[in-house]
């Protein structure tokens, strides 16, 4: 399969298009895959999936990390700037634009409407994220204990959330490195 050539213009358009995908980070990443792998044949599916796996452990979110990696692959540092700019442009403009309208909404009768629509829906989404992240752990009493302890520590004792996360990271390394696969844990 012949691989096509990358230009600055193409890089910009591919990432702008991905950045216009609705549905959050995963939707953007699917759109990138569709453009880069299926449509333009700039990289293989395996290459993209490897990058996706690595991007999960980069502290900035998968979209950002993949945009940087692909921008760099084709056009070095300048490519990273173009890819990042393009992929974030739609979300940045719209989010900041709506943030700028906050005081306007707050003063108008529209805000009452928000309290009956997007605000409670957003609270629901937080629960969904928690459930999705939790679906792998429900079979392990040990992991449920972790989650419950984190809840109690912050809700009842007001502990620092960052400290709880760091404790989780350290305990994660200790526990998961010492528990055999398929023993207590589903991983």
């Amino acid at each position: 399969m012949k691989k096509h050539k990358m230009t600055y213009k193409k890089l910009f358009w591919i990432f702008l298009k991905a950045g216009l995908a609705f549905g959050g980070g995963l939707a953007v990443i699917f759109a990138m895959e569709e453009e880069l792998v299926q449509k333009h044949r700039l990289m293989s599916k395996k290459e993209f999936m490897d990058l996706f796996a690595l991007a999960r452990i980069v502290p900035a979110g998968g979209v950002t990390a993949i945009a940087i990696a692909i921008g760099y692959k084709y056009k070095k540092f300048k490519g990273t700037l173009i890819a990042l700019f393009a992929v974030m442009l739609p979300a940045f403009v719209l989010t900041v634009g709506l943030a700028a309208l906050y005081s306007f909404f707050k003063a108008s009768s529209l805000f009452g409407l928000f309290n009956y629509s997007i605000m409670p829906a957003a609270v629901g989404l937080i629960v969904i994220s928690a459930i999705s992240m939790g679906k792998d752990i429900v079979h392990s009493p040990l992991l449920i204990a972790f989650a419950v302890a984190a809840f109690i520590a912050t809700f009842f004792f007001g502990m620092n959330v960052a400290m709880v996360i760091l404790a989780g990271a350290i305990l994660g390394v200790i526990v998961f490195s010492n528990v055999k696969e398929g023993h207590d844990l589903p991983y």
């Binding site: 502290p59 979300a91 997007i118 409670p120 992240m133 996360i165």
Partner: protein
């Protein structure tokens, strides 16, 4: 000025310890920016997250909205910069990819973070929910999102939009007022 630097530092470490996961950052912001520093209100935080969710693109750019609410356009721009800069770590990682044996260690670390994050997100839901779920319609909207996503298996974004639309319809139904 110190307030801006403080703010950017919070964005930086919150992003780094949660690996840039939008919803996981919420409990941290609820504690640092809302409770401890009073930079934004609970309502503003939820508003920022909601608009991050309805607009196209990655959700964690709701940080730009928080930046705008605390420090104007400068805050929006600088917080986004602070958010993306750690992303450049992907470049050395791609480079040493094949030698990266410690990757299982990082995987374990992320699993540990994920597990406690579930507890933290439930905690944030309870805390934030107390301010939002104050009457019947918000409760219906809240429950609808979860039912659509988890029982009917509609994707998260669509559940959000449909439940919000239901809330707007119910809002205009006079019998509920």
């Amino acid at each position: 000025m110190t307030s801006l630097i403080n703010f950017l530092w919070i964005i930086f470490y919150t992003n780094v310890i949660t690996f840039g996961n939008g919803p996981v950052m919420l409990p941290l912001f609820a504690q640092s920016l809302v409770q401890n520093m009073h930079m934004i209100s609970q309502e503003q935080l939820l508003y920022a997250y909601s608009i991050g969710r309805v607009t196209p693109g990655q959700v964690n750019l709701y940080i730009a909205a928080i930046g705008y609410l605390t420090h104007g356009y400068k805050g929006a721009f600088l917080s986004t910069l602070v958010l993306v800069i750690p992303g450049y770590l992907i470049l050395p990682m791609v480079h040493i990819h094949n030698k990266l044996k410690e990757i299982t260690l990082v995987e374990h670390l992320i699993k540990g973070i994920t597990v406690v994050s579930i507890g933290l997100m439930i905690e944030a839901t309870v805390t934030i929910g107390q301010g939002v779920l104050t009457s019947v319609v918000p409760w219906i909207v809240f429950a609808t999102v979860i039912i659509l996503a988890k029982v009917v298996k509609v994707n998260g974004f669509l559940s959000f939009v449909l439940a919000s639309a239901l809330g707007i319809i119910l809002y205009y139904l006079p019998l509920l007022h």
